[in-house]
């Protein structure tokens, strides 16, 4: 028998009230402002924008505050907000070769034109806790040098001139949008890149790491990693021309991967590509490795059955909001489902007990 029950409104209200109090914490401690989160927790803000799939630092800061620092919950809030926004249109593909780079390094070419620019990196820090930060101090000031304002050329373009690296076929085709159309497998590379750029950092990192450990190894070098601002341009139909509608900070990673050649292709280097909102280099490198692993078929490589080569496995599990939604729903009331399971187990036990008794007699 199905019995509908209701109740719990009072408990829920009280729980949310307490949540608000706990979120605020000790009232003796000053409250966090959105500007503080945006400026001083900027890499958390970047992650929420990348996986929330919405570039708006102020909103990401609000989401982090509301979620008490739970980034997946914050991403959830941003995704929910995103669905309420009317879609004004789409941009022209961003020109990352025109990026004003804060950071630009290559692990393959020491003397890359434009140089190795470290930017504000954690690399080469000793990873020792800095207790000076526990005390209030003066705002540090970074040193400056004569700037180069010319665009930094992309490193793979040099390899490309000699035909040593696989060419990216240029097209202006409208890419499929997984936020508008249901996923279909096999997916094309554009859909894979969209899923990876908004995918969970931990999941994409784990998949990338699995390829390094031998599950679909593809011998990547970081040909180039760059972080910086690019202008976003959009065609405005009522004006009949393109205008810049703003500026976003992006992280781009291009890997250069060994490729032994195939029946149709000579030996040359191949590429993996990562492009992510914000300063998010762990994610961008991971994305490039996974992108490369998923290209096995197109490049005529063997499918060794590695998880990172399995497009459906990767794409269907990379979204942390889908994952957490399905995972966390099992903690919500399932009284009726469980009741029927309980009945079933009792019935099976009765039957077994009955037959054991018969056998004994």
């Amino acid at each position: 028998m199905y019995v509908a029950v209701k109740g719990g409104e009072r408990a829920i209200d009280a729980a949310h009230e307490w949540l608000a109090e706990e979120r605020r914490g000790d009232p003796q401690v000053p409250e966090l402002s959105l500007a503080q989160i945006r400026e001083q927790m900027s890499l958390a803000v970047n992650r929420v924008m990348a996986e929330g799939s919405l570039y708006d630092p102020e909103l990401a800061a609000l989401a982090i505050k509301q979620a008490r620092g739970d980034l997946i919950e914050a991403i959830f809030l941003i995704r929910a907000y995103r669905t309420t926004l009317p879609r004004i249109g789409h941009s022209r593909p961003v020109e990352t070769s025109a990026m004003r780079c804060d950071r630009r390094v290559s692990a393959t070419f020491k003397d890359a034109p434009g140089g190795q620019v470290l930017g504000p990196t954690f690399d080469y820090t000793h990873r020792l806790l800095d207790f000076k930060l526990a005390a209030e101090g003066e705002a540090p000031v970074a040193r400056q040098a004569e700037p180069t304002l010319a665009p930094t050329p992309r490193i793979t373009e040099f390899l490309n001139r000699d035909g040593l690296i696989q060419d990216e076929a240029h097209s202006d085709e409208t890419p499929p949008d997984m936020t508008r159309q249901p996923m279909e497998y096999p997916a094309d590379r554009s859909t894979r890149l969209q899923a990876l750029t908004r995918g969970d950092e931990g999941f994409v990192l784990g998949m990338a790491y699995s390829t390094q450990r031998g599950y679909g190894r593809n011998h990547p070098f970081v040909g180039e990693l760059r972080i910086g601002a690019v202008e976003v341009e959009m065609e405005i139909p009522e004006l009949g021309f393109d205008i810049c509608i703003g500026e976003v900070t992006l992280t781009e990673c291009e890997t250069v991967n060994q490729f032994m050649g195939s029946k149709t292709e000579p030996a040359q280097f191949t590429r993996g590509y990562g492009l992510v909102f914000g300063q998010t280099e762990r994610k961008a490198i991971s994305m490039a490795l996974v992108d490369r692993a998923l290209r096995w078929e197109e490049l005529g490589e063997e499918n060794v059955g590695a998880p990172a080569q399995d497009e459906e496995f990767v794409l269907a599990h990379s979204d942390n909001i889908q994952a957490t939604g399905f995972l966390e729903h099992i903690k919500l009331p399932h009284y009726v489902d469980f009741q029927s399971e309980l009945e079933l187990v009792r019935k099976m036990r009765r039957e077994v007990e009955g037959s054991m008794k018969e056998a004994a007699e």
């Binding site: 990348a50 022209r92 930017g119 097209s171 393109d242 509608i245």
Partner: protein, 151 residues
């Protein structure tokens, strides 16, 4: 003066500058310039998302990265000029001011407004870009060749 006389390129430049400008700074400059003409709405300010696209490998086929917030509006001045505002973020007053400047830049007060609003915004943007580039330049690696083992 109509739009073709103004020149598309010049208009693209100021519209882009207005889209990227800090909203508070634009408001300040407009107030100082005393530019608050009567206007009617052609499109009320609305906030929406624009899907930002990239290209595979930076140069290949386009793909969808994610959206950014954009606020737009359109208005007409009493004198007939139509201004469009497309600005990054969710600030409707910012979009309105951008559209106002866009309209005024097509009218007789363009030169005065260029000096009072456009030029200071452009200078501030150039200065902040230059400062970031200077900090990046300070982190450029200079390699020194150590003793090379030849044997």
């Amino acid at each position: 003066m109509n739009v073709t006389e103004v020149g598309t390129e010049a208009r693209q430049r100021w519209m882009g500058l207005l889209a990227r400008a800090p909203a508070a700074r634009l408001a300040e400059l407009l107030e100082v310039a005393g530019a608050a003409p009567v206007h009617e709405w052609l499109r009320m300010p609305e906030t929406g998302g624009v899907m930002v696209r990239g290209r595979a490998g930076g140069t290949g086929a386009p793909f969808n990265m994610g959206e950014m917030t954009v606020t737009r509006c359109a208005l007409r001045l009493e004198t007939g000029e139509v201004g469009h505002g497309y600005v990054q973020g969710r600030d409707k007053a910012h979009a309105e001011r951008a559209a106002l400047v866009d309209a005024l830049m097509q009218g007789p007060g363009a030169e005065a407004l260029r000096a009072a609003v456009i030029a200071p915004l452009a200078e501030a943007e150039a200065a902040s870009r230059r400062e970031r580039a200077a900090k990046a330049a300070a982190t450029k690696v200079e390699f020194f060749t150590m003793v090379r083992g030849e044997d």
